[in-house]
């Protein structure tokens, strides 16, 4: 019964996401596209934060590298969408393998600082290598690659067609992350988060598992970055800056780091708040800060996490009563 309801809700949500563009205008569709892409970015971050216990402050490096790979491919090689996105993913994953190799050697604050340091090194790389990356202006003026599905070719210019493409890609990688987390590998990650020492006693190489998690998170962030570069029609250094790394952190904390869909709800809340508040005032950061602080103090499990524990308590109470 419970499982059926779960599946029902999931199917309804996905159906809603697919039907949304049928009754919404261009702006809401673009808006939702951005939310979907950032949801994937935040979920990839949360594989490290929520499930492995590593707070990365340089995750934008992989998001940005995916974006730059995509933009460079679109500008110079004109290959179609899926191979481009695949290459973006590989570029981001390969850099995550190199950077992760060093970062996973430290934990807590030191891990956060190392990822920050490496992330900003990538930032200076794209900022200074003008001949390749366009420096601080970034790469602009390329066309969105054609989506070639063998049987049919699609142009992804319009907000609607790009929305569907981004949605399908993000759903596939969400499923991928879900499978990773619910595999035996994911179980080991979670037990490492709870007590790394105990896990190492039973002969598991903690560093190796952390490294693999780091690479997977980097791969998926690269896909999100590749999509975002297409969505924005540009790759710019701001995609790699530490302030971009802070976004998935904020979204995840808002939504809840211990719940799979927490980052998704966080991204949604983040964008809705921003959109609503900026209609009245430019100072939306004050509001974001004023919302973030009580959440950190009173709802450490995030919005979704707190809702779930309330729900559980309510169900228990109801069970006793009945």
């Amino acid at each position: 019964m419970k499982g059926m309801a779960k599946i029902g809700v999931l199917v309804l949500t996905i159906a809603f996401l697919f039907l949304f563009p049928q009754f919404a205008g261009a702006f809401p569709v673009l808006f939702l596209t951005e939310i979907i892409i950032f949801s994937l970015f935040a979920m990839s971050f949360n594989l490290l934060f929520g499930y492995t216990g590593l707070l990365s402050f340089g995750h934008a490096a992989f998001f940005g590298l995916g974006g730059y790979a995509m933009a460079l491919l679109a500008q110079h090689y004109h290959i179609s969408m899926i191979p481009s996105l695949f290459i973006s993913m590989v570029v981001a994953g390969a850099s995550a393998a190199i950077i992760g190799f060093f970062c996973i050697r430290r934990d807590e604050i030191y891990f956060a600082m190392l990822t920050l340091g490496f992330g900003m090194m990538v930032f200076t790389l794209v900022h200074q290598w003008r001949s390749l990356t366009g420096g601080s202006d970034g790469i602009t003026g390329f066309e969105v690659p054609v989506l070639d599905l063998m049987v049919k070719k699609f142009q992804l210019f319009s907000p609607w067609s790009f929305y569907y493409f981004a949605l399908v890609v993000c759903l596939i990688f969400t499923l991928f992350l879900w499978m990773v987390i619910h595999s035996p590998f994911g179980l080991i990650l979670r037990s490492m988060r709870e007590n790394a020492e105990r896990v190492s006693f039973i002969g598991i190489d903690i560093k190796f598992y952390r490294w693999i998690a780091f690479i997977i998170a980097g791969l998926v962030a690269g896909v999100a970055g590749g999509l975002f570069a297409m969505y924005d029609r540009m790759a710019s250094p701001s995609m790699v800056h530490w302030t971009m790394s802070a976004k998935p952190v904020l979204m995840t904390i808002l939504g809840g780091s211990r719940v799979f869909f927490g980052p998704v709800l966080g991204a949604l809340i983040f964008y809705l708040l921003e959109h609503t508040i900026t209609q009245y005032t430019q100072s939306w950061m004050i509001f974001l800060g004023a919302i973030l602080i009580p959440i950190v103090i009173f709802f450490p499990e995030g919005v979704l996490g707190t809702l779930i524990s309330w729900g559980k308590r309510f169900m228990k109470g109801a069970g006793h009563g009945g």
Partner: protein, 407 residues
């Protein structure tokens, strides 16, 4: 888990209600203009001056019956001087507010990010400040126009002034993005033609936008002992640079100093008597350069309403509204394609003088003003004495040289 999903669904529906509410469409009675400038950060005053100039023009036009009997309505958005944010702002203006035309853009970087996307949006944009030659050159398209002086024109004039000075060894200090690098590139190109003896030094400085401490760069340039320094910093960056350079004695070294955007009144008001005298400064409009009734009216009306003399950003925004008005009236309709046709080859008088929008690359041809800074008790800011005015045709490269292929 069930709660997770039901929460999610509820949230998505709320989202749909908030943002799916309704796409605005151009209402019959008004012409909607979307406007994007920098309203925060190192160049916030530029957005403020542009907004004032634009609102002055719109109020004047609306008071005298509008355009084709329709009132003008303007929506402003902040680009934060960042290309992705500017793109987002333009999407919002076009898709959410349903604007008919776009006016604005400070910063070459922003322009290079936004201009290619206009082909998809199919909305005409009149650029009033961003100066990179690319947007009316290699990146040019049907929807992009520029009513203001670009890098080629400004720097060509700079090179002519530089060629007349005794300076041989030249270096530069410019912002580290498209504008700074391209300004230096064109300065070298034009000056080496006019003065084959000119040498361009290896020591150059490109501090990043919104640098707080210029002292290492100032030290590096002073140590290189140049004869001439071409400075393309602008806005708050130029103000900060000049204040710090004053303290380090930079202007007492006998260099010939050229500042391509030093005569922006935003900068002159911020510095007042801290602006050194005897420095060559360029601008995209100078309020004392033209005695025409149109300019006199503009300067007086602006001063009366806002208490300061108009800057180039104010004039350019003001001029863009009048250019758009002229084009709509010439076309006899607000249809975007017809207005684009009317803008091509349009001649219109604005405070800066007569401007002509070339059909070949959509760049306006207009006079370019440079001058040497001087004190004048009649003005609270430095003014230009002597002033040099270059004819637009003399400093604008031919269309074939721009790399633009519109036809």
């Amino acid at each position: 888990m069930r709660r997770v999903l039901s929460g999610l669904i509820a949230a998505v529906f709320v989202a749909a209600m908030v943002i799916g509410g309704g796409e605005a469409f151009a209402s019959k009675g008004t012409i909607k203009i979307g406007s994007v400038y920098i309203f925060s950060g190192f160049a916030a005053t530029y957005g403020q001056f542009a907004k004032q100039g634009l609102e002055l023009a719109v109020d004047e036009i609306n008071k005298s019956g509008g355009v084709l009997g329709k009132k003008l309505e303007v929506y402003f958005e902040d680009s934060h001087a960042k290309p992705p944010i500017a793109l987002r702002a333009i999407r919002k203006l076009v898709y959410e507010k349903g604007v008919d035309f776009l006016i604005g853009l400070d910063s070459s970087g922003v322009a290079k990010g936004v201009v290619p996307y206009l082909k998809e949006l199919k909305v005409p944009l009149l650029i009033t400040h961003a100066a990179t030659p690319d947007v009316t050159g290699s990146q040019c398209n049907k929807y992009t126009f520029r009513v203001s002086v670009n890098i080629n024109q400004n720097v060509m004039a700079a090179a002519r002034i530089a060629a007349k000075t005794k300076a041989v060894k030249w270096t530069t200090i410019g912002p580290d993005y498209a504008f700074g690098h391209q300004s230096w590139e064109y300065f070298q190109k034009y000056l080496s033609k006019l003065n084959p003896r000119a040498k361009f030094m290896k020591t150059v400085a490109f501090p990043k936008i919104a640098t707080e401490d210029y002292s290492p760069y100032i030290t590096a340039i002073m140590a290189a002992k140049p004869d001439g320094v071409f400075i393309s910093l602008w806005s708050g960056d130029l103000v900060n640079f000049i204040k710090q350079a004053n303290k380090m004695g930079f202007f007492n070294q006998g260099y010939t100093v050229l500042m391509s955007l030093g005569a922006a009144t935003e900068v002159l008001y911020a510095l007042r008597d801290q602006m050194p005298t005897g420095v060559w400064v360029g601008t995209r409009y100078w309020f004392l350069a033209n005695n025409s009734p149109v300019n006199k009216h503009f300067v007086e009306a602006y001063k009366a309403r806002y208490g300061v003399y108009p800057s180039y950003n104010a004039q350019n925004a003001y001029a863009a509204v009048y250019a758009l008005k002229a084009a709509i009236e010439k076309a006899g309709t607000t249809d975007r394609m017809a207005v684009i046709k009317a803008l091509e080859g349009l001649k219109v008088e604005v405070p800066a003088g007569d401007i002509y929008i070339r059909p070949g690359d959509h760049q306006a041809v207009l006079n370019v003003t440079w001058g040497s800074t001087a004190e004048d008790p009649k003005y609270p800011i430095r003014i230009l004495k002597p002033m040099v005015i270059f004819k637009g045709e003399e400093v604008t490269p031919p269309v074939w040289e721009t790399g633009c292929k519109l036809q």
